[in-house]
């Protein structure tokens, strides 16, 4: 009897862990892969200069030296969770920027995308005494009270990657401008297809993801206006933020609509997932694929031709920009860096609305076959 109970306990534990795992990774990737809802489009020009990491850090150091005396600020940079590649890379960027600028960057976050754990950790960090919080909230609502508390204590509050409630933040660091990013992906697809007429399809991470929907809407509006001969064969197909599902759905899609010659993939698992499906089907030359994806995750499909262009942004730069913005604001009385200005630790001119929003890029960044 006892044995049975113990065995069933283990089974249950395993099952729960699995469930927790599924849920966790689902939310994590959905929220981690991308996240930006911008209202104010910045009056910014495209500043997409691809500099090597070395150049960039050299420039960062140089400007850091001129700025001087960043002091020993304590800056907490908190991702939604620490255990996924996306947020590990952003962390590397944040820590590197901290080292260059001579500030103390703490990159710490929950191990699962649990809002409760995130709030608890921020509460504990506030007690420790820190100068700035950069947070990628798992849930803007849940974060409101604790961020307000931080603000009341004079801590600089910045959100990055995903936006918190606007009333409790001093600045927001966005990945992309939704509209430009959405339009850019369409342009890229047309270029890769080599024609602006034909059947195309959309595969998305989830039907309720606000940022993905914003990109899709920007893209479809743009198609209706600029490429009237492109025909979207069906509503966006949801792949549940999973690479495996993106793979399966792509195969189904190509069976149901063999005439499709271009696919747009939204959310970062679609790049490697859809790309692998097209390659396995032997369609890498017939069907163009432009999809979101992390640079490292996409190398294989970019090389075999399954994926033509991976559109996202560079994650380590995102972490770097969050820290650079925080330091600039701490140094400058909480003023958001002006558009086109130079700040320490950031090699390029800042893209900003000058009041609240700072942008990593306007149209994202493309990763192609190396």
């Amino acid at each position: 009897m006892k044995k049975r109970v113990v065995i069933s306990l283990f089974l249950a534990a395993a099952m729960t862990l699995q469930l927790a795992g599924c849920g966790g990774s689902k939310t994590s990737s959905s929220e981690a892969s991308e996240g930006a809802t911008s209202e104010a489009a910045p009056a910014a020009s495209e500043t997409q200069t691809e500099g090597s990491a070395a150049e960039e850090s050299a420039a960062g150091e140089a400007s850091g030296a001129t700025e001087t005396a960043a002091g020993s600020y304590n800056i907490l940079v908190m991702p939604k969770l620490t255990n996924i590649p996306y947020f590990q890379v952003t962390g590397e960027g944040a820590l590197a920027a901290g080292e260059e600028l001579g500030v103390n960057v703490i990159y710490d976050g929950p191990t699962t995308a649990d809002a409760a754990q995130q709030v608890t950790m921020i509460e504990n960090y506030i007690t420790q005494g820190i100068d700035a919080i950069c947070v990628a909230p798992n849930d803007p609502e849940a974060m409101k009270t604790v961020l307000q508390k931080a603000k009341d204590q004079g801590i600089l509050v910045i959100d990055w990657d995903t936006q918190a409630d606007r009333s409790v933040t001093d600045a927001s660091v966005y990945n992309v401008v939704d509209k430009e990013f959405g339009e850019h992906m369409v342009d890229e697809l047309v270029e890769k297809m080599g024609t602006d007429s034909g059947d195309i399809a959309i595969i998305t991470g989830g039907l309720s993801a606000a940022n993905l929907n914003a990109w899709i809407k920007a893209g479809t509006d743009y198609i209706a206006e600029k490429y009237p001969n492109l025909h979207i064969v069906t509503d966006p197909i949801a792949s549940n933020e999973s690479q495996d599902e993106a793979y399966a759905k792509t195969k189904e899609l190509m069976t149901a609509y063999p005439d499709v010659i271009g696919i747009l993939g939204y959310s970062s698992p679609t790049g490697p997932g859809c790309g692998k499906a097209l390659y396995d089907l032997g369609l890498q030359d017939q069907v163009a694929l432009v999809a979101n994806g992390l640079e490292d995750d996409c190398q294989e499909v970019l090389n075999n031709g399954g994926l033509d262009t991976a559109c996202l942004w560079s994650c380590d730069k995102l972490g770097r920009l969050a820290v650079a913005t925080a330091v600039a604001m701490l140094e400058n009385d909480g003023q958001v860096p002006a558009d086109g200005s130079a700040i320490a630790g950031w090699a390029e001119p800042v893209i900003s609305d000058g009041e609240h929003d700072v942008f990593l890029t306007s149209g994202g960044e493309d990763f192609e076959k190396k």
């Binding site: 006892k2 109970v5 113990v6 069933s8 306990l9 249950a12 534990a13 099952m15 729960t16 862990l17 469930l19 927790a20 849920g23 966790g24 939310t27 620490t82 255990n83 703490i106 710490d108 976050g109 929950p110 191990t111 699962t112 995308a113 649990d114 809002a115 409760a116 754990q117 709030v119 608890t120 950790m121 509460e123 504990n124 960090y125 506030i126 007690t127 420790q128 005494g129 849930d139 803007p140 609502e141 849940a142 409101k144 009270t145 309720s208």
Partner: protein
């Protein structure tokens, strides 16, 4: 001295846990006295512990009968979501105070109903508790997701939000709720007739039934009581995070089970004390806060908690064996005389 000896003989397990807690607390305090022992930090801990502690008690009630309750988190979040819908209606916005009161009551009542559902399936129909609560967990989560589409419901009335942040003197209101429920749990489980029956079922359900105890009803009430505890936890969570969402507190499920087992409750039922569970909750809270304050990698918290659990279980096993050997020797001695 007499008191300590009594404690050693009657409650060796609680004594070990208490010592671990004191040592951990002292170490954390010694490493950074000005931060860890600061009023703000101690208050933080008192704000954070109740929601988790109530979940642990909710789990413990089920484990005492040899069962388990995997639906504690989703039962609470579903109740919170439904109550949040009520509180964010036009009426709720116009009448914040009544809405807050009704919302609070609604969370508890709906949680009680989820408890009744679990209780009927487990007690009256007789399905294994783990399977029932695994199923209901999925059902509660699914309903919550359908209602919210995975988003959170915010803009709750201000008086409701006060529950999670108010304090009486230096003591946070959540801590008061927690303290009251510790007392209630102690008296119901360890001092009442019903509590005795709960432990008996955990030891041997068949024998308990044949001794004329209405085991079905007792079991049912265990899950209703569990519902009350996670319902109150749900009130605190919803209020502290100003919103309701299906996955709030998702990390508490396994932690609650950890606290229960670490606290000395037999996973097969029949043994365990409220004090043990509470001490385990305090240990886990100290580790979690202390590690964050000392900027230790969060993944190490899990490893450390696992090691504490292994240590406690080993100590418990070894002392159990030693006591057995002692008894056997004593018996042999009397037999020889």
């Amino acid at each position: 001295m007499k008191f300590i000896r009594l404690l050693r003989e009657k409650h060796p397990n609680e004594l070990v846990l208490f010592l671990i807690f004191v040592i951990l607390f002292a170490v954390m305090a010694a490493l950074s006295p000005d931060i860890f022992l600061s009023g703000a930090n101690l208050q933080n801990m008192m704000f954070q512990m109740p929601e988790f502690g109530l979940m642990a008690l909710a789990m413990m009630a089920a484990v005492l009968t040899g069962g388990m309750n995997l639906s504690i988190i989703n039962g609470a979040t579903l109740s919170a979501i439904l109550a949040a819908l009520l509180m964010t209606t036009e009426w709720g916005k116009a009448n914040p105070l009544p809405a807050a009161v009704i919302g609070t009551v609604a969370i508890v009542v709906i949680s009680l109903l989820t408890g009744v559902l679990n209780g009927v399936m487990i007690g009256y129909i007789g399905i294994v508790a783990m399977l029932v609560t695994l199923s209901t967990q999925l059902v509660f989560e699914g309903i919550g997701l359908i209602i919210t589409k995975g988003n959170s419901i915010g803009s709750l009335p201000a008086p409701f939000l006060a529950i999670g942040s108010a304090q009486i003197g230096p003591v946070p209101v959540p801590m008061v709720v927690f303290a009251v429920m510790i007392a209630v749990s102690y008296f119901l489980l360890e001092r009442s007739k019903w509590g005795r029956e709960v432990y008996m079922i955990g030891d041997n359900e068949t024998a308990t039934r044949f001794s004329g105890i209405h085991t079905k009803k007792v079991l049912m009430l265990v899950y209703v009581f569990s519902g009350l505890l996670y319902g109150l936890s749900g009130v605190l969570i919803t209020s502290r995070y100003c919103s309701a969402k299906t996955d709030y507190g998702s990390s508490y499920l396994m932690q609650a089970l950890t606290a229960v087992v670490m606290g000395g409750t037999d996973i097969n039922g029949g043994r365990g004390t409220v004090a043990g569970t509470i001490l385990a909750v305090m240990i886990l809270q100290t580790v979690s806060t202390g590690f964050t304050i000392h900027r230790v990698d969060q993944n190490l918290v899990n490893i450390f908690n696992g090691l504490i659990l292994l240590f406690v279980l080993s100590v418990r096993y070894i002392t159990g064996r030693l006591i057995d050997i002692k008894k056997i020797r004593a018996r042999q001695a009397t037999a020889e005389n």
